[in-house]
Symmetry: C2
Subunit: 287 residues, 2 copies
């Protein structure tokens, strides 16, 4: 049951459809679009609920196999402009997986301790254990996004980071971590509407930060930095997936499907018992 | 809506009903019972689903307030014999809260590094941040449970730990952490049935460990160690709650209700905006 793909709305592989290939142009991707899916919001939400059982099952299998020495894990990297829906992905896609199977890290402005190390130090300490789904809400990419736009390092240092990131990601993927890098792509108008909504409700005020508008004023520079990062760090082992995100239901279904396809690729069955089943039945009966 | 208590099955405070008071005798509590609740399994599962929205809302409020300097957090400590349902509490009670709001730690046999520190060292590093619900799957109590039963330290050292735990818990509760200590109480027969079920299904073999039967053979010694721990560490700031757990639905509803009551006690509204709302509306409109 959890092995069939019937519940998916995608008529083709989401990984194939959403990977940013050579020549990808961010500005040409419509944030309103729903690539690979032709369905209503209602059907999308239904598919999301069905997919959550599939994803949960795949994570439990991955965990079970990790107990017998399988080193595989998954790392979902989420990057986006403010209000694009990273939080919604965390709660609605990852949130349906058993908390024990999830390692979630939200990367904020680096602390003085973090700044005293190289930019990948805090990233390494947060990597998922075997059997887990790691989730990075923001990541090492901030160092070539806000880092570039706000000139937080010299151009040479920024430039060097793309290569360091590619090396790092190859290294951890060889160690068993399957990296799923997602950029949630919203339009400037959609962001304006979402930020505005936070100013209308008492229970949303806390989500608004005046700094969000400061960043918003740099929209073109951020789009350029994203385009560059996607071009320079889309590798064989860790391609970027760019997910149109004006429609929240689509973005959630798409990220869920990316995770499901990635983990199905592991082809993990249930590990055999590493003890004598009949003997244990007898010991238990006698206890 | 999230403020009403209509969805609860408890006709009295779960905290009041389940706290282990002076003179509490573990052996007198029936693991099949459902204290404070008279309902069917079906109604229990329905109430659990309704309560999850309430708990989620309370956590979001706690998080929102933490951004304005409120230091409060919650720490759910789960202790139990094997198969009593800790994992089910984590996935079905805590698992409905946004992963960003949860800090989950599963404590295993201490590593050499952990053993080179005092027994509370690894506990301190795992405490929840302000605004989070921390969950300990096993905890510092292992050091007076398996530690006592398996004589992993001298009797003097074990004896001293109860006092150290009480001091520690008072200290962290003064720092803003509300501790909810739960022992899930199952019967020996129920454990036998649950362990046996793991030996019957290929997809459950990985959950079984021959060591579980070794521990099971020490059942009376463990019950005695629990009784002692409950007696010596049920304090004003951190009482033990002993939850009958032969009926999984009851244990889940009860722990959910303990968390809800604890967090309702914070009486947190939505924090006011710490910026000028009209000014921000104008800035956003102009952006």
């Amino acid at each position: 049951m959890a092995d069939t793909d019937d519940s998916s709305l995608f008529r083709e592989s989401a990984r194939e459809r959403l990977a940013a290939r050579e020549g990808f142009v961010l500005a040409d991707l419509d944030p309103e679009s729903t690539p690979g899916v032709d369905a209503s919001k209602k059907r999308g939400e239904h598919a999301l609920a069905e997919g959550s059982a599939v994803l949960d099952d795949l994570q439990v299998r991955m965990h079970a196999n990790s107990l017998s020495g399988d080193r595989r894990s998954v790392l979902l990297v989420l990057q986006a402009m403010d209000s694009a829906g990273k939080g919604g992905i965390v709660s609605h896609v990852v949130g349906t997986v058993d908390p024990e199977g999830v390692a979630h890290t939200s990367f904020k402005k680096p602390t003085p301790e973090e700044l005293s190390h190289d930019f990948l130090w805090r990233i390494r300490t947060a990597l998922p254990a075997a059997g887990q789904i790691g989730v990075f809400d923001r990541s090492h990419y901030e160092d070539v996004l806000i880092g570039r736009v706000r000139e937080l390092a010299t151009p040479e240092v920024i430039e060097e980071r793309y290569g360091l990131i590619n090396e790092f990601e190859r290294e951890i993927s060889e160690a068993g971590i399957s990296i799923v890098k997602v950029m949630l792509h919203i339009s400037s108008d959609e962001q304006k509407a979402r930020l505005g909504a936070r100013l209308e409700r008492e229970d949303k005020y806390w989500k608004y930060n005046p700094g969000d508008v400061d960043e918003r004023l740099l929209w073109p520079a951020y789009q350029e930095a994203y385009q560059l990062a996607i071009r320079k760090t889309s590798t064989e082992v860790a391609p970027w997936f760019v997910v149109p995100a004006n429609r929240k239901w689509y973005a959630r279904v798409a990220v869920q499907q990316l995770l499901i396809e990635t983990m199905r690729g592991f082809e993990q069955g249930w590990p055999p018992a590493d003890y004598d089943i009949d003997l244990e039945k007898a010991r238990l009966a006698a206890s």
